[in-house]
Amino acid sequence: MTLSTLVAEEQEVLEHYLRAFGALERNGAARDGSWVAALRRSAMARFSRLGFPTARRGNEEWKYTDIRPIARRPFQLPLPPGSPAVGAAELAAFALGPTGGSRLVFVDGRYQEQLSSRPSLPGVSVLSLAEALTSGADTVQEHLGRYADCDTHAFTALNTAFLHDGAFVHIPQGTTLDKPVHLLFLSTAHAQDTATHPRVLIVAGEGARATVVETYGGPSGADYFTNAVAEVVVGPGADLTYYKEQRQGERAFHVTTTQVVVGREATFSSFNLDLGGALARNNLNVAMDDERGACALRGLYLMGGAQHVDNQVIIEHARPYTTSRELYKGVLNGRSRAVFHGSIIVHKGARKVDAEQVDKNLLLSDEAEADTKPAFWIYCDDVKCRHGAACGQMDENALFYLRSRGLTEPAARRLLTRAFVSELVEGIASETLRDRVDGLVEARLSSWLGDDEAVG
């Protein structure tokens, strides 16, 4: 194929999205307020000007991740799923278990009331976004689309143009949620390649405390594309914990953008687990917008085969006395590839900022590859910023040490790999989530390194 036919192909896909957008508008599906329609229209206009970021030359943000497989395929908006939308077994594979907390289930981007459970929580809103838009909650209008940037980010613009359903979680001032809110986004197989654009808005009011878990999953045999955007507002003194699990099918494309605003003396803790997908890209942008806010961002990715994962984390320290801690670790098998691109920006006058960024990769195969790219833009003298990166194979001496005590080589490898990730797993405060992540990690490592003998 010549360059011009390739470009023509991308142009055709853009036009495909424009046509799909036009059809949605004509259907009059939008019963929600005109402000949403305006938001969508301007996002579509923006997307059609931006196009997908396929040009990699001079494009630092997308340098290591080729998204042409997404840009050249006219993904369709899926038809509403049948009933039941997914089977009990599929649901059970992703459900959080009997936590007693709220659960919203989305199948192919649409909220499924009969699969969800919403215990009554005084003052707290856990709604589908479609519901929230129809009922016209003021908090939604106040925040939706305000933080995630459509102007320069094509995927965010595309998501906003097709913004339709998703989740709205509002924990009002002074409220503590003991049980996690689980948002479960499942895709199903279709005759055509489909795309969903889930949208999440989480608002934690002043002094509120809550844990939100987002899970993405889908069938292993299907080509589908999930393009999710979450906006997270952590009010003054609030404490929000946000777990995101990406367990998509092995042929899936997964792009998420999470835009977080951390208020005065507020704490935001995130954990990003990547296990699935053919190509996954997570943009996590955290704005430390007021004094003494803190964030702790953790990530774990276990990739095999020809999987590709790209974590792009940008922290903006806009105000003094804000702190950030980043710890991402990856285990790479097969021909997989991981990218970690961590930027820390300290604004002028943001004194006493304390930032630390660490990314470590363990390569289980000679063909796996990891690229770590830290970037610091510091416009203030009185700050502490550190970063560390490591990438290497398993320590042969440690392996021999364990084998000399009677462990088989696969058992020793598994134990050392688990040890490498244990810091992240052990660091999960919630026992339910810690056990869940531990189980997922163990299953993946067993599939790679055998389970001839139990360890530990």
Binding site: L402, S404, R405, E423, E453
Partner: protein, 255 residues
């Protein structure tokens, strides 16, 4: 129990062991003394099966079996134990966790019932008490943040837990003060019995006051140049390795 015949071994292109002959019988303690770089640790690693240590000639039988083709874990399962000169720090791997996996691997290979967590803990606690060590140690990551002395004691504990038939102790005394040497020796002696044997590798005679050997060998430049009773250790200590090294050089040029 262990029979080494004309053992030659190389690391990379360099030949380190140049024909070792050694016979160890049940109940015996053999001390191998030698200066730095004489091949003491190489001998230990070759016997334990460390990858990268290539045997170029000779043979080794352990309990009647050909040792050299065996994987490191199979050697451990056959009853061989190596106490490392520089025990590794393994963050994230708990001592009790990995020792239980080790002992169960060994037991399984012998058709013995595997130990569950409770039974293993009881066994472990017994050994920790026997060696008068801190109980909290076993729940910590292997050697993480340990001093040199603590690491060495930890090796002795691992030996006590795994109860090997043949223990190869690579400088269990190096870097230890006299009190710590005595403690290490006590642990080693507790492990001795009529059915098992010990090869104690050391640079200094000092520890042999406490772990009294049946046979002492002097290893220089990849060869055992002298063997004798426990008094040989004192002789080596008195005259130093230099003279023996010269004698070995003369031997080589004439031979």
């Amino acid at each position: 129990m262990l029979e080494i015949r004309n053992l030659h071994a190389s690391v990379g292109e360099v030949e380190i062991l140049k024909g070792i002959d050694l016979q160890v019988k049940p109940g015996e303690v053999h001390a191998i003394m030698g200066p730095n770089g004489s091949g003491k640790s190489t001998l230990a690693y070759v016997l334990a099966g460390k990858p990268g240590y290539v045997v170029t000639a000779g043979e080794v039988t352990f309990l009647g079996k050909d040792l050299l083709p065996m994987k490191p874990e199979d050697r451990a399962r056959a009853g061989l134990f190596l106490s490392f000169q520089h025990p590794l720090e393994i963050p994230g791997v708990r001592l009790d966790q990995f020792l239980r996996a080790g002992i169960n691997g060994i037991r399984k290979s012998r058709g013995l019932e595997e130990l569950d967590v409770l039974k293993f803990d009881r066994h472990l606690v017994k050994k920790v008490q026997l060696l008068e060590m801190d109980q909290g140690l076993v729940r910590r990551s292997v050697n993480e943040g340990f001093s040199g002395g603590e690491r060495k004691r930890n090796e002795v504990l691992q030996m006590a837990v795994l109860e090997p038939t043949l223990a190869i102790l690579d400088e269990p005394d190096s870097g230890l003060d006299i009190d710590a040497v005595q403690e290490a020796a006590k642990g080693i002696n507790q492990q001795r019995g009529p059915e098992n044997a010990t090869i104690l590798i050391t640079h200094y005679q000092r520890i042999l006051n406490y772990v009294v050997p049946d046979v002492v060998h002097v290893l220089i430049n990849g060869r055992i140049v002298r063997s004798g009773g426990k008094e040989l250790a004192l002789e080596v200590e008195a005259q130093g390795y230099e003279e023996l090294q010269e004698a070995e050089a003369t031997l080589r040029s004439s031979g």
